[in-house]
C-alpha cells in the first residue's frame, strides 16, 4: 500500500509528463484545468499514465460523471440541482466539491479537480 507521499510523487510525475509543467507548479491545491492548463485530451493521457503507474483501471465515469452532468434529472438550465450535487458527492467522494457547490455551473465542472482530488482518488483505487 503506497503512502500518501508516494501517491503524490507518482501523480506529480504523471502530471509533469502529461502537461509539461514544472515540479513546483504541481501543488495539492492546483486545479488541473485552471492552474496546470490541462485540456480534454490531456485527461486521457493522465488516465493512461496513472493506470500504468499504479496498476489500476480508471473508468472514465469515475473522474467525469458525464451521465450526471448531462442528465435532465440532475441539471437544470446549466446548473446542477441539489439532487444532482448529492449524486456527484456520492460518485466522487474523493473530490472536494465545496467551491463548486457555491455556483454549480456544469461548464465549470471541468475546472473542479485538483491535484489532491486526483491523489485521493488514486489512493482509494489502490487500497
Amino acid at each position: 500500500m503506497p503512502s500518501n507521499e508516494e501517491v503524490f510523487e507518482k501523480v506529480k510525475e504523471a502530471l509533469m509528463d502529461a502537461l509539461g509543467v514544472d515540479d513546483d507548479e504541481v501543488t495539492p491545491e492546483a486545479t488541473l484545468v485552471g492552474d496546470l492548463g490541462a485540456e480534454s485530451i490531456d485527461f486521457l493521457d493522465i488516465v493512461f499514465k496513472l493506470e500504468k503507474a499504479f496498476d489500476i483501471t480508471i473508468p472514465r465515469d469515475d473522474l467525469f460523471p458525464d451521465d450526471v452532468l448531462t442528465s435532465a434529472e440532475y441539471v437544470q438550465e446549466g446548473r446542477v440541482t441539489e439532487v444532482g450535487l448529492a449524486k456527484l458527492k456520492e460518485r466522487m467522494p474523493f473530490a472536494d466539491l465545496t467551491k463548486f457547490e457555491e455556483n454549480p455551473l456544469v461548464q465549470d465542472f471541468g475546472n473542479l479537480l485538483t491535484v489532491q482530488d486526483l491523489c485521493n482518488y488514486v489512493s482509494t483505487k489502490v487500497a
Binding site: 502529461a18 485530451i41 486521457l44 493521457d45 493512461f48 483501471t57 472514465r60
Partner: protein, 179 residues
C-alpha cells in the same frame, strides 16, 4: 488515408505489435521539394507513418469498428533524417488499450540503425456527436488494408489468420454489384 505513408505490413499480431515498411524515394514531391537541393523525408511524415501503423494496430483490436484518431504525440526522439533510397522499418507495440483510446510505442529503423522512437496516444471518438460519423468508407478502407497486405500477414495471438470483418466484406460486395 489520403496519403499512404507506409508501403505494406510485414508482421501484424492482433493486440500486440505491427511492423510496416516504407521506402523513401526521390521521386516523391515531399522528399524533393521539402528542402530544395537537400532531399530529405520530412520527419513529420515518419511520425504520421507510425500513426498509421499504430492506429491500424489499435483499431483492429475492435475489428475496425471504432473511430480511432491520433490525439497526442507523448514522446518523440528523432535521431537523424531519412533520405532517398532508405528502407524504413516501422514497428508499433500496443502498450495500452481501453474503451477511450490506446497508447503505442513506436520505433523506426533503417537496417539496424534506430532513426526515431516515439510514444503516440490515440483517442476513440465515441461521443454522441460522432455517432453517425464514419472516418472511412468501409469498402475503401478494406481495399486500403488489402493493399497494405494486412490480411496476408495478420494473425491473432493464437496464430490463426485475422479475418476481414463482415461489415467490410458486405460493403465491398455492395460496391462491386453497384458498379
Amino acid at each position: 488515408m489520403r496519403w499512404f505513408l507506409i508501403d505494406r505490413f510485414t508482421e501484424f499480431v492482433s493486440g500486440d505489435y505491427a511492423v510496416a515498411v516504407r521506402s523513401i524515394s526521390l521521386s516523391e514531391d515531399a522528399v524533393d521539394d521539402y528542402v530544395p537541393g537537400f532531399p530529405t523525408y520530412p520527419s513529420s511524415l515518419i511520425v504520421e507513418g507510425m500513426a498509421q501503423t499504430g492506429g491500424i494496430l489499435g483499431t483492429q483490436v475492435g475489428d475496425f469498428e471504432h473511430r480511432m484518431v491520433l490525439a497526442k504525440i507523448m514522446k518523440l526522439q528523432l535521431h537523424t533524417e531519412a533520405i532517398p533510397g532508405d528502407l524504413l522499418t516501422l514497428r508499433a507495440d500496443l502498450q495500452a488499450h481501453t474503451a477511450d483510446g490506446a497508447v503505442i510505442r513506436g520505433t523506426v529503423h533503417r537496417g539496424n540503425f534506430l532513426l526515431a522512437e516515439m510514444e503516440l496516444m490515440f483517442a476513440i471518438l465515441n461521443d454522441e456527436r460522432f455517432k453517425n460519423v464514419k472516418l472511412f468508407e468501409p469498402a475503401g478502407f478494406c481495399r486500403m488494408l488489402r493493399v497494405l497486405k494486412l490480411f496476408d500477414v495478420g494473425v491473432n495471438p493464437d496464430g490463426s489468420p485475422i479475418k476481414i470483418p463482415d461489415f467490410m466484406l458486405e460493403a465491398e460486395r455492395a460496391e462491386l454489384s453497384a458498379s
